[in-house]
Amino acid sequence: MNTSLYVPGNTPLHRLPAGAKFGVLFAAGIGLFLLAHPGVLGAAAAVAAVLVLSARAPLAALRARLLPVGVMLAVLFAATALLQDVPAAVVMLLRLAALILLALAVTLTTRPADLLEFFERLTAPLARVGVADPERISLGVSLVLRFVPEVFRRFQEIREAQAARGLKANPVALLVPLIVRTLKAADDVADAIDARCYPPPRRPSGGARTEENPT
């Protein structure tokens, strides 16, 4: 199972810096919620769709990412049409579709490392006032991106092992071994991170971090 959003490539969108892509996404997000003309929103959604296609992601990967979103949008469209009216539902649908497609174009073409580096830069002011350590936030996000598929794989292994012994799907019987195995893996991952000399040396502008006491 591939739950990662990034698809390697060398398209113009791939080559754009992460900061520029997120800046445009941020501005487009504000713009889309200020606009209410169906024609303009439709054009925006079309442009966003073209951008997604320009990422040259495999169709199967796109289908896997867009199918759940499509279902969600269909439910929202129906609910809005029932509770308000069809024109309002169309505006809502086009606005959300444009925004989601733009976000997908960004995540499809932005390496997780570039994404994390961008967030590190964005949160750097927090480090200067001692609120948070951007490198730790960045590593945490990276671990989530990396290990979501692993947790899903472990879930499938446990389910298969239980099914092989005739056990029907039972949330408690699935979750307890999954949590135990995930916590054990977390210990190993922490060791692996230590073994590779984390954290990086202190930056000149960083906080008071010593070699043996990184916190």
């Binding site: 390697p8 997780p112 190993d188 692996a192 073994a195 984390y198 070699e211 043996e212």
Partner: protein, 249 residues
């Protein structure tokens, strides 16, 4: 029971051109004892490790993995001390780990970034390498293991053998002087086991390999048998494996 330690006939030390290789750091264990939850795992260990290829064998639960983790400070001893070129792992762990790399049994828990090249870069960033030097170092390390084509792949979608090679490359890119392996071939099929064996044999740094694969250590300079919380045999591979088969099978 201890046999004289040193290069065995036909061992890796005889076959490798030692002059081209950096000297292995000397790892010393002095009166080392470790326990978990009130149970003694290792006790009274006194060892000096300086050979280029050292194998560690023993039964499950004998303390092999704990011994491996002591060597780069992932575990610090409850008693005694571990020195790597005179640096105490208790007080200079980070510095020791930059010299002594560690390859884990399960690469799924070692590879911490979603994309292979990013994972390779992680250790280099931690070493404080200038950012512009990192891509070149990463590409070189991947190519040296014949896995340059994996650089942009999702790490969790690789095969078991590819993952273990990536895990090894991610340690080697940091240019350690010694690499400790904790059962590196246990989860692999024969072909991938041989790829890892060949990679370990060919690499320049010294290696300490914890394994159940007795054939893997056959060409090593020295093999330790861990048994009942101590080193039961220390010597040439043939004698060590024979002792292990006789006493622990």
């Amino acid at each position: 029971m201890t046999a004289p330690a040193g290069p065995a006939p036909g061992s890796a030390a005889e076959e490798r051109p030692g002059a081209a290789e950096p000297p292995a750091p000397v790892i010393e264990l002095q009166g080392v004892g470790v326990g978990y939850d009130g149970r003694t795992v290792l006790s009274g260990l006194d060892l000096r490790l300086a050979e280029r290829r050292i194998g560690v064998i023993g039964q499950n639960g004998s303390g092999k993995s704990t011994l491996a983790r002591l060597l780069n400070g992932l575990v610090v001893p409850d008693e005694g001390r571990v020195l790597v070129d005179g640096r105490d792992t208790r007080t200079e762990g980070r510095r020791v780990r930059s010299e002594v790399g560690f390859v884990f049994q399960n690469p799924d828990n070692q590879i911490v970034f979603p994309i292979v090249a990013e994972d390779m870069a992680f250790g280099l960033k931690n070493l404080g390498l200038p950012k512009k030097e990192i891509p070149g170092r990463v590409a070189g390390a991947l190519e040296s293991f014949g896995i340059g084509h994996l650089a942009e792949r999702h790490s969790h979608l690789l095969s078991g053998g590819e993952k273990q090679l990536v895990a090894l490359a991610s340690v080697m890119v940091m240019r350690p002087r010694t690499v400790v392996f904790d059962e590196p071939t246990t989860l692999l099929d024969l072909r991938n086991r041989n790829r890892i064996r060949d990679a370990v044999d060919a690499m320049a740094p010294a290696a300490v390999v914890v394994t159940h694969d007795l054939e893997l250590v056959s060409g090593y300079d020295r093999v330790l048998v861990v048994h009942d919380g101590g080193i039961a045999f220390d010597g040439a591979p043939g004698e060590a494996v024979a002792w292990y088969r006789e006493h622990c099978s």
